[in-house]
Amino acid sequence: MLQEKLQDVFNEPGCSTNQAKSEKERKKGCSKALKPGAAAGGCAYDGAMIALQPIADAAHLVHGPIACLGNSWDNRGTKSSGSQLYRTGFTTDMSELDIIHGGEKKLYKAIKEVVQQYDPPAVFVYQTCVPAMIGDDIEAVCKFAAKKLGKPVIPVMAPGFVGSKNLGNKLAGETLLDHVIGTVEPEVTTPTDICIVGEYNLAGELWLVKPLLDEIGIRILSCISGDGRYNEVAQAHRARLTMVVCSQALVNVGRKMQERWGIPYFEGSFYGVSDMSDTLRTMARMLVERGADKAIIDRTEGVIAREESRVWRRLEPYKPRFDGKRVLLFTGGVKSWSMVTALEGAGLTIVGTSTKKSTKEDKERIKKMKGEEFHQWDDLKPRDIYKMLRDSEADIMMSGGRSQFIALKAKVPWLDLNQERHTPYAGYDGIVNLCEEIDKTLSNPIWRQVRLAAPWDSKPDSKPDVKPVGA
């Protein structure tokens, strides 16, 4: 069962990386064998949890030994405007005896306890490696529990060892397609209902976009899964249009919604001024194509014109301060492309970017725009990054938290671009936030101080003094 699902996910026609491969290569799937002793990153369970956990009013129960949840709960910054249940960590905490006797009974009991105590609209049950190894039939337990308890109990079949975090995202998408989307009918629908896929509302980013959509008259029927509610996700099949935000992670959801319910989808981004405007335009155009009132196009253009002029005006003060400042971007996926355009617009110079999770198209786009000279790395070793920063090849590094200490130990400013940050960077306001954050760290007086050698240390530090921003 799981094997079939994996094959299916690997063979995603909506994935442009995949489509560029030969038939034979495609069969192999997209999970590269990891090198023992040199691998990093999460597992499939991790990815599934990331994609589904933002559904805030559901209970998320992890079936496995303590490591899977005990070491990981309470560590992501996705926000909810209401229910906080998603922040509660539930696990069966499997013990030796559960492994000998099988964990199914304990799992059922745990589901029952959660339902009785918290009465959530649904329970997601995450399969992990150990119960998968001992053959616990999670799907059967969930089915039984759903019937007994009168609530959706959804098995998420993504044990860690089947592959990467990215694969786990996709398996989470499949879970929603198989068990959730299409199970609830909305009370009202409008011709401008949309579904957003792959937006997790980190640091409240969705909330910088939603007011603009409200103003234009576009309704988010369901967001998968940022600030999500179970019933809203279950109604996604009545959307008129799907926007896939992170195409690498969840394009399968967009494509299958098109296949099953005839909902067209497009890939868009909320990062960067031009990408944001493009996204709004595409949304409006496609909704009109599907019968929405033409007036939304004008309203969209109005909002874009106003917001763009506002954002450029607000970015103006940063330009002289950013003049000559070089950024090393180290992030994955579509963000590397969107961020390049956004930051250059604010006057920064990008010296290079990683393209680990970017599609071939993204890479081509960057190459076209920045020329062949521009650095694009598929993989850069920490030691090399450290050396680049130490040698002052960049004034700031922007990356995920994993690599923050490479920058900080090199005494170079660092900014978090990934899921742990507290500042939202999406939409027009988000870009201004981002520039403010960059300016704040670049102009901090600590950089001069921390690079000073101790007074008793005769050897001067190799780092040249940095000029304060705007000087």
């Binding site: 064998a33 040199a38 030994p65 303590i66 490591a67 996705t78 030691r383 200490f405 990934n418």
Partner: protein, 466 residues
């Protein structure tokens, strides 16, 4: 205090907001206290990623941690190939002084024969005979953080320590349990050295995890006790064993070296510190230095000043067992009532706890038991529950991702006890001063109540993930 209620096992099937962390994570922390070490989890990728993120968030340091990256096929067919490849790769890339292998739920469920794999590795890689390799059995599905830490230290002792026929005068071993922060180890070193003794700490987190500025990027741990120092532990005069969970490692050390062990169940509190100082004075044959005498005086003074605010205060404590013991004992010393002591795992030390309720449980149990408490003492995960019931939280233990300097807190010896006394005392004091404006204490979101609904995901708090 009346009858002590003991519920050694929770009847719940679902652990809610777990306090427990897994064994391999504890093992990783122990390995990180060895200089130029690379801890390696024998399991699937996620096991390592989660552990890594948790330690990074707590210490705000890059954490070296590798994985054998077991996939479905190797999980079924056996993981030796992955293990061998991982060790060889790490050796080639980083040339660490020690590779510490910890098993996980995946490899333990499969029943990988680690002793067999160890001999097979040695047999097949004669060229790597100089590489120090420690294998520790640390299944995720039994025990917890403390057990993993203990297993790794025991493994290091068995693999690295050498018996010695001679004794180095003044050399002392310290088996430092995981309830000691890097700051505690540093403090302990200061105290021991002030008697002219030279301690070897195993592990020594004070050098590797206290925030360093290396000259170059290193993939392994940087600082900590060296392999050579560990090997020389057989020539010490005595071993100070700190914490109940270090007993197994102490027994292994004594068996191998005949160095006598002196056991300390805690180092927080006046009497506990007195015992340490008296022991050190006897070992060294030197009088107690003026600095320590002064510290003792100020602690006594602090206890007199602070006891008003501690007396009969109702406190719930949820920490790893040995830290739980140290903290509950200290609070009892100060006249507070520990109404609930919650441990993530069942261990012998729970029998000694002075608390009205002793329970093996999770943060949701703390939330239930602490409803009418004046204070909760627990890790950062306790903040959500504390906010919900409106009881202030004093953060201790691990993970502590929403405070700076978590790893450097000092709570041992006279000075550390004094600091802990003032920190907790100030929480009570400020509430008493605030009473006029806040009315009755309970039902109000005092102290940490303002965190209600807020989410510390970290990032700027130092969390890495992704």
């Amino acid at each position: 205090m009346g009858n002590i209620q003991r519920f050694p096992h929770s009847a719940k099937a679902a652990s809610t907001n777990p306090l427990k962390m897994s064994q391999p994570l504890g093992a990783a922390l122990a390995f990180l206290g060895v200089d130029r070490c690379m801890p390696l989890f024998h399991g699937s990728q996620g096991c390592t990623a989660f552990g890594l993120v948790l330690l990074v968030r707590h210490f705000r340091e890059a954490i070296p941690l590798q994985t054998t990256a077991m996939d479905q096929v190797s999980t079924i067919l056996g993981g030796y190939e992955n293990l061998e490849q991982a060790v060889r790769t790490i050796h080639e890339r980083n040339a660490p002084a020690l590779i510490g292998v910890a098993t996980t739920g995946v490899t333990e469920t499969k029943g990988e024969d680690m002793a067999g794999q160890y001999s097979l590795f040695r047999q097949r890689n004669p060229a790597l005979s100089g590489l120090k390799l420690v294998f520790a059995n640390t299944p995720d599905f039994s025990g917890g953080f403390e057990d993993g830490f203990s297993a790794a230290v025991t493994g290091i002792v068995e693999e690295v320590v050498q018996p010695s026929e001679t004794t180095v005068k003044g050399q002392i071993n310290v088996l430092a349990g995981c309830h000691l922060s890097p700051g505690d180890v540093e403090e302990l070193r200061d105290i021991i050295e002030s008697f002219g003794l030279s301690p070897i700490f195993l592990p020594d987190l004070s050098l590797s995890m206290s925030g360093r500025q290396p000259d170059d990027f290193t993939a392994t741990s940087l600082g900590g006790v060296t392999v050579e120092q560990i090997a020389a532990m057989g020539a010490s005069e005595a071993t100070l064993v700190i914490g109940e969970h270090m007993r197994v490692a102490a027994a292994a050390l004594e068996l191998k070296t005949d160095v006598r062990s002196l056991f300390f169940d805690r180092l927080t509190g006046l009497e506990a510190s007195d015992r340490l100082v008296r022991t050190l004075s006897e070992l060294s044959g030197r009088p107690v230095p003026a600095k320590l005498r002064h510290q003792r005086e100020t602690l006594v003074d602090g206890m007199l000043d602070g006891h008003f605010f501690y007396s009969r205060k109702r406190i719930a404590v949820a920490l790893e067992p040995d830290l739980l013991y140290a903290v509950t004992s200290f609070l009892a010393d100060m006249g507070a009532e520990v109404i609930a002591a919650v441990s993530p795992t069942q261990t012998a030390v729970l029998e000694k706890l002075k608390a009205a309720t002793v329970m093996v449980g999770d943060h949701s149990d703390v939330e239930t038991l602490a409803r009418d408490a004046d204070l909760i003492v627990s890790n950062s995960h306790g903040r959500q529950g504390a906010a919900r019931i409106g009881v202030p939280l004093h953060r201790m233990g691990l993970p502590m991702f929403d405070r700076l300097g978590a790893g450097l807190k000092v709570q041992v010896g006279y000075r550390g006890t004094r600091e802990l006394l003032f920190e907790i005392g100030n929480l009570f004091l400020s509430r008493e001063m605030d009473h006029d404006s806040h009315g009755h204490a309970h039902g109000h979101a005092h102290g940490d109540g303002h965190e209600h609904g807020q989410h510390c995901g970290s990032g700027s708090c130092g969390c890495s993930a992704g």
